[in-house]
């Protein structure tokens, strides 16, 4: 167990230490520099959009996987895990080639928030699917069928029966996806073009600060991102648990 | 082999689960540990098995003190309520597990397993896996597995609780005849008094970590030592503040000089009929056999007298012990 503390806690402490090395003032100016602020806004916006979009898409996908029977369902089920299996950098360069200056589709979304968001969507899809799937599986269609016999339309059934049941799991999964998206690097860095103030996400800002030997500033920005990610995780877990408890 | 335990005390998370209890189980007997949930009976069984440590007391098997022996040295067979099948092993390999531990050579092992599977009538399923079997089949497998090592004592923890009524009844009597045939000392934990009454040689009634009474089923039923035992072992009906067994009261015509009650409800339970009666300040019920009910044909609104059939109410003064059960 000393293994674990060596690994996780000490580096985190070191980060904290470094971030405040120059004092609170330095920390604040580094963390809220225009560069950092722009990057954070971009990162937050793209991650939020992708996470929420995939919450919806993921639920639809999970629904199809669980309730529907069709040829190729197994393939669909397996390919969902691709983002867990494929290295982020491979996804990143592929997206750049597919949707960048040499795109076979003649689109170019490099350096745009669209490009970044698409890359993040790739990475975050499995989170919501795999979070919702087991809940849907144990939820028999009985409740849904009962509502249907009472005259409810499929959408109404979904909204009033299915959704409340999957909401806690969906929240946890989306929270994790969002936290992960905030720090995503490999899949985003190629398509994002990395122009400071314009198309730079927080993680690449941190990297460029590190490579130019500005560890203290890098730590400041990193700390903010870290706290944000952990907060998202904690909040989504707490809310999910509250929801689950209320349902009884 | 005789099983005896004395002064067994166990606390768990600040709560006293067993309070210095002692008893002896005779060789070849099937003893039922009967009691409500939380009475400590499963804990006691696990202590006898060596799966749970006790705080104080002793456990002896066949005269040998095994209090400090781990489970694997006690030569016991144990069946959990969930049967605990080894999910990754086939039925045959499940049953063979204990034999493999004893390094029984393969041919001999296979022969013994086949014999056991035949005994529990699962030969046809030998190569299937637990998830392919029904609850009752898994129960029989658990039994065969436990018997494979030829234990001195068989310990069963609510073996029938998870089965449906019919399977439970069949398995119950089947295990009883098996136990008699093999002659193995058995302790069975249950919360079902009908089950305990039906198949045991001796009942030990536990409540809140203490033995309320122990003795032969019929004796304990007719001579309960405490109110708890009386109400736990069977249905109780009251008349004039005194508790009776249902078969001790009878319905008579209203004019025979006894208190009359008005019939409120007639419940038909198949083989018996329960007539619920009430008067101004009390409710009571009387049990009629199917034929009696047919003859009398009681209906709501009618009035009957309720009278004690037996001469002496048996619940009131019960002898302290059952001497016919001891050996």
């Amino acid at each position: 167990m000393g293994y674990v503390s060596l690994l996780v806690l000490i580096p985190m402490a070191a980060l904290l230490n470094e971030a405040f090395k120059g004092g609170l003032g330095t920390f604040w100016s580094a963390a809220t520099s225009t560069e950092a602020w722009d990057a954070l806004k971009l990162t937050l916006a793209c991650s939020l959009f992708a996470a929420v979009f995939n919450a919806v898409a993921g639920t639809a996908t999970a629904y199809v996987l669980v309730r529907d029977r069709f040829a190729g369902r197994g393939v669909l089920n397996t390919i969902i895990d691709l983002p867990f299996a494929l290295p982020t950098v491979v996804a990143g360069v592929t997206f750049y080639t597919l949707y960048g200056p040499h795109s076979p589709f003649h689109v170019n979304i490099t350096g745009t928030w669209v490009g970044i968001t698409v890359a993040i969507m790739f990475v975050t899809l499995p989170f919501s699917v795999r979070a919702v799937q087991p809940v849907l599986e144990t939820l028999t269609s009985d409740a849904e069928d009962a509502a249907a016999t009472l005259g409810a339309s499929p959408l109404h059934v979904f909204r009033t029966v299915t959704l409340p049941a999957i909401l806690p799991a969906l929240l946890t999964g989306t929270g994790l996806a969002f936290a992960r998206a905030l720090g995503e690097y490999g899949s985003v860095v190629f398509i994002s073009n990395n122009l400071p103030y314009h198309s730079q996400v927080s993680s690449s800002l941190i990297y460029s600060l590190v490579s130019s030997d500005q560890n203290t500033s890098a730590s400041a920005v990193a700390l903010v991102l870290l706290v944000l990610a952990l907060t998202v995780l904690v909040v989504s877990n707490v809310v999910a648990r509250q929801l689950a408890a209320r349902r009884g | 082999m005789t099983v005896s335990y004395s002064g067994v005390t166990k606390s768990y998370r600040g709560r006293l689960v067993l309070d210095g209890i002692s008893d002896v189980v005779n060789e070849g007997d099937l003893t039922a540990l009967l009691g409500p949930s939380g009475s400590g009976k499963s804990t006691l069984l696990k202590i006898i098995a060596g799966l749970t440590p006790l705080d104080s007391g002793r456990v002896s098997l066949a005269g040998k003190d095994v209090t400090n022996e781990p489970a694997r040295n006690r030569r016991i067979g144990f069946c959990f309520q969930d049967y605990a099948p080894f999910r990754h092993l086939s039925l045959r390999d499940n049953v063979a597990y204990g034999l493999k531990v004893q390094h029984v050579p393969r041919a001999k092992r296979r022969a013994q397993v086949d014999e056991l599977l035949a005994l529990v009538r699962l030969e046809a399923y030998a190569d299937q896996f637990p998830h392919q079997l029904s609850g009752g089949q898994r129960q029989r497998m658990a039994l065969a597995r436990a018997l494979a090592i030829k234990p001195d004592v068989l310990l069963l923890d609510e073996p029938f609780a998870a089965l449906d009524a019919q399977v439970r009844a069949e398995l119950r009597s089947w295990i009883r005849s098996l136990q008699k045939e093999v002659g193995i000392t058995t302790i069975l934990v249950t919360h079902d008094q009908a089950e305990a009454m039906e198949i045991s040689d001796r009942i030990v009634i536990l409540n809140e970590g203490r033995i309320e009474q122990a003795g032969r089923p019929s004796f304990v039923y007719d001579h309960p030592a405490t109110d708890f035992v009386a109400s736990f072992l069977g249905p109780i009906t009251t008349l004039g503040g005194i508790a009776y067994r249902p078969h001790e009261l009878e319905l008579v015509a209203p004019d025979e000089g006894v208190e009359t009650y008005e019939v409120r409800d007639v419940v038909r339970l198949g083989f018996e009929v329960r007539v619920v009666l009430e008067d101004a300040d009390a409710t009571t019920w009387v049990q009629l056999s199917h034929d009696q009910a047919k003859q009398l044909n009681p209906r709501a609104g009618q009035r009957y007298g309720v009278r004690v059939r037996a001469k002496v109410p048996t619940v009131k003064d019960a002898p302290a012990a059952d001497h016919e059960g001891a050996k």
């Binding site: 980060l15 360069v93 590190v210 | 080894f86």
Partner: protein
């Protein structure tokens, strides 16, 4: 209800296909766009060669270490609950949500010779950062919870009755562990191992920082691919990507089987 599900099904398949399957297929196409012989010589490029070997060496150390840790900590958390083990449960999950860049930064700050422990290490002549060992460390960090997240729920569900039964049948603790405990969690562990393997092979951001990205020395395969693209050597990059893509497909296959086996175990309990 049925017709709308066909529409929904098509939409989902289209979305997943465009987002996930298309890129994968594209990699295959790009790697072979110049034909077989070019492909083979690209594979034998010295930088790629070294990258493959380095990645393999990292995997050989990092994955088994993490599996041992994962199984061990899972057993401890489930079978011996305490305040400490509950805290550990939470701490282990943290690496999942951390940005790999931040991980790399943290590790460098803590273990570089200019860092916290740096002076001690420098004194002992130990250099961790920018070496193979740093890559192993980073790999273990990012994949820390992957095994235990699979094994812990299974252990909780299985309970201890199987092991206790084995004890009554005469088995000693060691035997019980190998014949019952390990076998019971086998598929969950396999699933976790596969995820760990994929994560270790595919880690980019953290390794980028802690390794120094020195070509022909401390460049893993992922770094190699990145470097190639940075220098507009995209064909070479795609060849490397194909290699990793193939491994990913294999990993996907194993994950699929493991999940199938696990689900069967979970729902077979009391049918």
């Amino acid at each position: 209800m049925r017709r709308s599900s066909v529409v929904l099904r098509s939409v989902v398949i289209l979305y997943v296909g465009a987002l996930l399957a298309l890129p994968l297929g594209f990699i295959f196409q790009q790697a072979f766009v110049k034909g077989w012989s070019q492909f083979w010589s690209a594979l034998r490029d010295p930088a790629m060669d070294q990258a493959i070997w380095l990645t393999a060496k990292v995997v050989v150390l990092a994955v088994p270490l993490n599996v041992l840790f994962g199984v061990g900590v899972s057993l401890w958390i489930v079978r011996h609950p305490s305040k400490l083990s509950r805290a550990l449960d939470v701490v282990i999950d943290v690496p999942l949500a951390l940005s790999p860049i931040i991980v790399g930064l943290m590790l460098e700050l803590a273990y570089a010779q200019t860092g916290w422990f740096g002076s001690t290490f420098a004194y002992l002549g130990l250099k961790i950062m920018f070496t193979y060992w740093a890559i192993v460390l980073a790999s273990i960090f990012v994949s820390l919870p992957l095994v235990s997240r699979q094994v812990i729920p299974l252990l909780r569900e299985l309970g201890e009755h199987q092991e206790q039964t084995a004890a009554t049948l005469g088995a000693k603790p060691g035997r019980i562990f190998f014949t019952i405990t390990l076998r019971s969690i086998a598929w969950a562990a396999a699933y976790g191992v596969t995820l760990t393997l994929a994560r270790v092979i595919g880690e980019y951001g953290a390794v980028l920082i802690v390794s120094g990205n020195i070509a022909l020395l401390t460049q893993t395969l992922t770094l190699n691919i990145g470097a190639n693209f940075d220098s507009f050597n995209s064909y070479q990059g795609f060849v490397g990507s194909l290699l990793l893509g193939l491994i990913s497909v294999l990993v996907l296959g194993v994950i699929g089987i493991a999940r199938h086996r696990l689900e069967r175990k979970r729902y077979d309990s009391f049918v």
